[in-house]
């Protein structure tokens, strides 16, 4: 094996004792401090009064939520693929049959219960990826808080609240169906 001889820089005594390097560092800090004090620069954000929301990237993964479409139909048909794929097993679904009086009776199936335990959720986005009905999406909400474990479980109502209406999705259950 070839031996590489590394040339170490020759340090002066004040560099060896960190005297000049320390001064250099303090100078940089001082420069920033003066810039901030003069109002020329801003490095901290006053959370939660100020938020990072406007700068979130498009691929940001926040809380998963269910969506309805422009026809007012809940898109989830309760196929339970998200429940199956969910790595931390945060999702619980109990399906039910859509009654024949419902305008969307031809879809036949919908969730009776849809819970996502936000304590368990790891925001991986597998549920969105696996969904064959474009019904679950990861939103940009990240501040999911609660005072009890029960409060941290998002039920169906809450999930539709977060998700809202999403337009322009594939309408699989159109008139031709």
């Amino acid at each position: 094996m070839a031996t590489v001889v590394v040339q170490r820089p020759k340090l002066k005594w004040h560099e060896k004792w960190f005297i000049s390097t320390l001064a250099k560092g303090l100078l940089i800090t001082l420069g920033h401090a003066i810039a901030i004090l003069r109002g020329k620069k801003k490095v901290t954000m006053q959370y939660p009064e100020e938020k990072w929301d406007a700068h979130l990237p498009d691929h940001y993964r926040g809380a998963p939520a269910l969506v309805t479409d422009e026809h007012g139909r809940e898109r989830c048909v309760s196929c339970q693929l998200c429940e199956f794929i969910c790595p931390p097993r945060a999702i619980t679904i109990i399906p039910e049959e859509i009654p024949s009086t419902d305008p969307w009776a031809k879809v036949e199936k919908r969730p009776r219960l849809f819970n996502i335990d936000m304590i368990r959720c790891i925001y991986c986005g597998m549920c969105e990826e696996v969904c064959p009905e474009q019904a679950i999406f990861l939103r940009k909400d990240y501040a999911i808080t609660g005072l009890s474990r029960a409060e941290m479980v998002h039920d169906k109502k809450r999930l539709y609240e977060i998700g809202g209406v999403r337009e322009g999705l594939v309408n699989k259950w159109n008139d031709l169906k």
Partner: protein
């Protein structure tokens, strides 16, 4: 498979073997074997929809098309060509044949892989999927759907069909337990053949032609026979779905446990599908000596009580103001104290023909150690039919005969008389609702002590001084002997709710409290001890019973459905 099914004594005399080449390897098969079965035996699975070994083969789905060839007939004086194995060279046919309805022949060649077979499968898949809806997310069959499976294995991946799909009736109510979705139907006709050939209730048929072919019930008829749900099992797609299981749970979540149906004495082999301690469905499991591949709807749907809200979950003792929860130890001690408090002649034990052999054995051990003469099970008869259902509604009457050496119900009238007259003061009821067994509430109220073990809360539990919560058939292990004398095994699918315990554990604890240590720690120990005492079980263990059971008694009882199936098999109508 630890045990292979014992075949009927009427096997064909001399088996004629023919040489058949499957995917380039020569094998020997008995003459008359269907090509599809021959391929399956050597591990070359041929995809199929309409073929079912227990039904006739109309060959209408075309999915099992394979490449076939025969040695060409030599011209006069010509020597037949041989291949490197010394077998005649095969002349491959340019067109495929169906493997399900053709039998093997000497010198035949079958190719299940290769360009021709793969292309025809692709073509058949494409045609089947032209009008098939894309509603797998709501379809109950998804996950166990042949169309899904073969679409992945042999399909195109995308559709070239740009026109509108044919619309057909959806969500059709064709019977009390079945829902039909005609768009999903691929016209394999398995259900039609089942209702006509096995259930003798031909109510299904096709109407219209071509791509408009529609499965329907005949006008004015409904698919409501007691075997209707078998059509859901054999439907390769989601056209027929069970109302009971509809939208309850996706099949990929279900854990399957091989067990027995305990609805009647037939002891049909089943798979219990459960998830997270809840039973979702029961489906038949093949056993050609018990139930073929079928079971009745009554037995299949008789599991809802396992998940019932009326389950007993704690041992209870009766005080002046009703029942109160207690500990197992106190409850069991109270029972054993009560058994000691009176003479043996004043005690009666009423057990159940629904108990396993192990439980019956321990009951017997208890009554013997206490010297109790009044013990019996409650017989139940009626409801048998000409197919699978046995007239004996207790799943383990033969266990009572084998282990107790007594006829079920022989002593019961005397016990009832004793309770009514007040001669019997202490009663231990194991898994039986005495009020339904012919006893008056007033007579039971007069008893000095009544202890009972139950699965569900009932009138007898209400009257009992001590109530012991027991496990249902899906929650315990054990063995039973069915009406034809076959020893079969129950397996545990789910856990018992709350503090409910296996009956054998309850009995063991009562024996322990009553007579002291007995060295029994597991249900295997009970079986081991029983195998030493009961002659027909000698040499057996719970593990050795296997998934398909062993014949331990000769009862002379025949299964009408199996007899007919054997007859059809002997005639070569079905593969069997």
């Amino acid at each position: 498979m630890s045990n292979t099914a014992v075949t009927a004594p009427a096997s064909p005399p001399a088996v004629d073997l023919v040489n058949v080449q499957v995917n380039g390897v020569w094998h020997k098969f008995p003459k008359g074997t269907r090509m599809i079965e021959a391929c399956r035996q050597v591990g070359a699975l041929v995809p199929h929809y309409c073929y079912h070994p227990k039904l006739t083969s109309p060959g209408n789905c075309r999915m099992c098309l394979v490449e076939m060839g025969m040695p060409p007939r030599p011209t006069p004086g010509q020597e037949p060509e041989k291949d490197e194995f010394g077998m005649p060279k095969i002349g491959w046919m340019p067109r495929p044949v169906i493997a399900c309805a053709n039998t093997v022949a000497e010198g035949q060649g079958i190719r299940t892989e290769g360009k021709l077979s793969e292309e025809v499968r692709k073509g058949v898949m494409e045609l089947l999927l032209i009008n098939h809806p894309l509603d797998c997310p709501i379809c109950d069959q998804a996950g166990e759907c042949r169309l899904q499976e073969f679409s992945v294995e042999h399909g195109n991946g995308e559709s070239r069909f740009r026109e509108e799909k044919v619309k057909k009736p959806k969500n059709v109510d064709i019977g009390p337990r079945i829902r039909l979705d005609d768009e999903r139907c691929i016209m394999c006709s398995r259900c039609i053949r089942f209702t006509a050939e096995i259930a003798d209730d031909p109510v299904l048929g096709f109407t219209e032609r071509g791509s408009y072919t529609t499965l329907a019930v005949h006008p004015g008829k409904r698919l409501e026979n007691n075997y209707s749900l078998n059509t859901v099992d054999i439907c390769p797609v989601g056209a027929l779905t069970s109302n009971d299981f509809r939208f309850q749970m996706r099949v990929w979540f279900l854990k399957e446990t091989k067990s027995l149906c305990t609805k009647c004495g037939r002891g049909c082999n089943i798979e219990i599908s459960s998830r997270q301690n809840e039973v979702y469905r029961q489906t038949p499991r093949e056993n050609n000596d018990v139930n073929s591949t079928w079971m009745c709807d009554q037995g299949r749907l008789d599991f809802h009580f396992v998940n019932s809200d009326y389950r007993l979950t704690q041992p209870l003792v009766k005080k002046s103001n009703g029942h109160h929860p207690t500990t197992w130890k106190l409850a069991v001690n109270q029972v054993s104290d009560a058994l000691r408090s009176v003479k043996a002649s004043e005690i009666a034990v009423i057990a159940s023909g629904r108990m396993t052999n192990e439980e019956l054995y321990l009951t017997h051990a208890l009554v013997k150690s206490a010297g109790i003469e009044n013990y019996d099970v409650v017989p139940r008869t009626g409801g048998g039919d000409d197919y699978l259902r046995a007239d004996d509604q207790n799943p383990n009457s033969n266990g009572v005969r084998a282990i107790w050496g007594a006829e079920p119900g022989a002593k019961l009238p005397k016990i009832i008389e004793g309770i009514n007259s007040g001669a019997i003061k202490v009663v231990l009821a194991l898994g039986e609702n005495l009020v339904k067994a012919g006893l008056e509430k007033a007579a039971l109220e007069k008893l000095t002590f009544l202890a009972s073990s139950h699965i569900l809360a009932n009138a007898t539990a209400e009257l009992s001084h001590v109530v012991l919560p027991a496990a249902s058939y899906a929650e315990k292990r054990g063995s039973m002997i069915n009406v034809t004398g076959r020893l079969q095994r129950l397996s545990k699918a789910v856990n018992s709710p709350g503090e409910a315990r296996d009956d054998w554990e309850i009995l063991r604890d009562i024996i322990l409290a009553y007579a002291g240590s007995n060295g029994i720690h597991s249900v295997e120990d009970v079986f081991k001890r029983m195998a030493g005492d009961v002659e027909i079980f000698s040499g057996l263990t719970l593990a050795r019973i296997g998934e398909l059971g062993v014949q331990v008694m000769e009862t002379g009882e025949k299964v009408p459905l199996l007899e007919r199936e054997r007859e059809r098999k002997a005639k070569g109508i079905i593969v069997g």
